[in-house]
Symmetry: C2
Subunit: 198 residues, 2 copies
DNA sequence: GACTATACGGAGTCATCACTCCACTTGGCA
DNA sequence: TGCCAAGTGGAGTGATGACTCCGTATAGTC
């Protein structure tokens, strides 16, 4: 896409390409750990390049963050698509829930840093929407299979997922506690659990 | 307590006392809105005092944040104690859950800012523990009354609560979505919803 | 009303961080 | 092997924000 706008642009040099990859990897780590407070300089150090190089590849801290997020969302979206073929739709949804929550700590730190940097661009938003659409498909399938109560929509399912993600990301929940908390949610999502009062 | 350590310390001047209060109020607002990125200068402006005055009352940004948090936790703890007398223990627990989640947006921003400022001192931690103990009492009462499944402990209950708080704080959930998500959790907390597999 | 300890305001200091400039290096082609 | 466009590193730069210094104002007392 970038090429189609600026023309067929001469291919990058090999060192530039590998530096770009190293920077992205380092950024994953650094922003995943340090979140908003992590500095671009630390990314450069971890990637083994100068700061200028980071800024040449990603003109802005925001753009680097966006790229990292887009990659991460993309991976999860692919995973959701994969799970759409699963024979047990209810189980598939729960697996997805768990994977997103597990993946969350780093992602959240990065997303927060991005908000902080003021740069929630279209690209990140689009990647996030693609993921939520993929999750929506999983949710509907599970409902059609009768594994999930019908009065739950994507927004509240997402709220529950984001909630568990954030709870885990900040409070460092140990696995057992998180599992038990998720069981409560999963049980609550069951058709049998639905209560009917206003 | 402060007096007992430093001696009976001559009383503060009236203007100092009211400025201190104004600063705390302003800090509630400012940090509640802006979180980590809010500046002490903004607090001073909003309180109608100079920056030096803020720093005289609270020698460090951290200490100001701690004070704000302690107040907030204290208020919720009192509310929990109040609800402990409620005739319907299950309902009381849900009310507490909802109130904590509702109160959360500002509190979370402040807590995050505090972590960011690196100063989670004993005082803030203690206030937070007092709150969780008060919630624990509510939880046990509800379990004894048979309103809540027995296999749920304070940690996972807290995880669910913190999760909803954080989901709401960051994603700006509208009331209806939050209500539906909470219903899923409440239904899942019901004894009838408990599943028994490993 | 005068006096002074207490408290105040805001200009200044210092550190940090995103981002730039430019002299130097190097991949890739002839 | 030599050339040079493409790429690099790191010392700046400017903005921001926590915190300090000190001359001025005022609450509270006689």
């Amino acid at each position: 896409m970038r090429e189609s706008v600026t023309g067929p642009a001469r291919a990058q040099r090999a060192d530039a390409r590998s530096n770009r990859a190293a920077i992205l990897d380092a950024a994953q780590e650094v922003f995943g750990e340090g979140g908003e407070s992590a500095s671009t300089e630390e990314v450069a150090r971890r990637a083994g390049v100068g700061i200028a190089t980071v800024f040449r590849h990603f003109p802005t801290k925001s753009e680097l963050l966006v790229e990292v997020l887009v990659q991460r969302f993309g991976r999860l979206r692919d995973r959701a698509a994969e799970l759409t073929g699963d024979a047990n739709p209810g189980e598939a949804l729960f697996v997805m829930f768990t994977e997103i929550v597990t993946d969350a700590p780093g992602k959240i730190a990065i997303a927060d840093a991005l908000v902080d940097a003021g740069g929630v661009t279209g690209r990140a938003e689009q990647a996030s929407q693609e993921l939520s659409q993929a999750v929506d498909v999983l949710l509907r399938r599970a409902q059609q299979a009768g594994a999930i109560r019908a009065d739950v929509g994507l927004p509240e399912f997402y709220a529950l997922m984001v909630g568990m993600s954030r709870a885990g990301a900040h409070a460092q929940l140990d696995l057992e506690v998180r599992t038990r908390a998720q069981r409560v949610i999963f049980d609550g999502l069951t058709p049998a659990a639905a209560t009917e009062d206003a």
